[in-house]
Symmetry: C2
Subunit: 242 residues, 2 copies
């Protein structure tokens, strides 16, 4: 019932680890009540704040659910909270040890709701900058990006040529935002894009669409098409190490 204290490990982490261990090893099973904070304080010899911080951490991970009077209860469906890291293509490529580059292949000033494109959250006729890019890993095309920028939200975008700095990078450094929404779908690669990406027509590709707002003002839409099996999205999640 004592606390294993590794050097350099904060006490609340030690508490968290101990409780995680007990849950994973089924000393506490789903639906069962954990000891109350007061009991843990007495049993582990730490302050209530320390216990509380550890328990809150477990609750944030979804391992337990905390309820007044009823106490802290072991959950049995904490997977619902799991998350995948957001896809960042240049970081991903660089991290794999490949050389990242990109090329701007299209640039177009337009008005919203023209040319077959309509940005629902933006009023018709609003000034929109459309960009088209290809991303490379070791000079091999791995993704196609079509991006729309709300010029009102980022006026200086007009002055950028996006030859050296990728739009995603530039936007990040120059335009604030507060909300982002993602959608992942699959697409049979149409002929033009297939040529650009150098894959056969109809190849199944993952499409990641990202829409960004700043305080209710739409900022940008990026639609990223990943070239078949040359790229994928992956992520790992682990509970506290035992």
């Amino acid at each position: 019932m004592s606390l294993e204290q590794a050097p350099g490990l904060p006490r609340f982490r030690a508490v968290e680890r101990e409780l995680t261990r007990r849950i994973l090893q089924r000393e506490y099973v789903a639906g069962e009540k954990l000891p109350s904070e007061a009991q843990l304080v007495a049993a582990l010899g730490v302050s209530r704040q320390t216990v509380s911080k550890a328990l809150s951490e477990l609750a944030k991970q979804g391992l337990v659910s905390r309820n007044k009077r009823a106490g802290t209860v072991v959950t049995n469906h904490f997977h619902e909270r799991f998350v995948l890291p957001l896809y960042d293509i240049s970081a991903d490529i660089t991290q794999r040890g490949d050389i990242y580059s990109f090329s701007l292949i299209g640039r177009n000033s337009m008005r919203n709701a023209d040319q077959g494109f309509a940005w629902a959250e933006l009023e018709s006729g609003a000034s929109v900058l459309e960009l088209e890019l290809v991303h490379f890993a070791n000079a091999i095309p791995v993704a196609h990006e079509r991006r729309y920028i709300n010029v009102e939200a980022a006026p200086s975008a007009f002055e950028q040529d996006f030859a050296q700095i990728a739009p995603s990078t530039w936007l990040l450094d120059n335009v604030p935002w507060s909300t982002v929404r993602h959608r992942i779908t699959a697409l049979n690669c149409p002929p033009t894009m297939a040529g650009t990406l150098q894959v056969p027509d109809g190849t199944a590709c993952v499409v990641v669409e990202r829409r960004t707002w700043h305080l209710d003002v739409p900022v940008t839409i990026a639609r990223m098409t990943l070239a078949g099996d040359r790229l994928d999205i992956s992520g790992e999640y682990s509970l506290a190490t035992l």
Copy 2:
């Protein structure tokens, strides 16, 4: 410089909100130092713990980076931490107001590394239970699932017929785990599966593969193929409301 105190809003949330507001509205710009904890304590009239909790929260969101001696600095690339909610098909379908159901269409006891399937992390010859399912929304097939279960990690899986309880649900309730890894790819739907899912051959489908471990013991692999445009994966992330 004072703190707007809404009723029922914890102070550390108020601090967090105030600092988020300043960052989003560029009162502090990327790279700039925030006031130190001590300064915020004096300026806002709250204790250091409260300020610290708020700042830690911002750091967890990636809005700021905290460094000893150098202080707390506004980040300009907090998007890297963004996450998508993990895909849970039955919850997703139910949440949309559709009726979820599933059907077990295949069951097979096998040995690892037989029949063209090899589970790299598991030794050859280990006993594996293979299941094949279809998931429906309003009786329309929306996903195909192929699942492998390491029988050693879940011996009682043999006794389950998985007619009423979906394998994912059963595993969740009966087998502990500590690590999960995901991979999202796209696939041109092969003929057999296309028939099952009632989509044309070659339709681009999103594939979500999920591998689960418990303390270094592989538990299960689930490969979920989403039927073309009938399902997608989406998620939203917002910073603290202003």
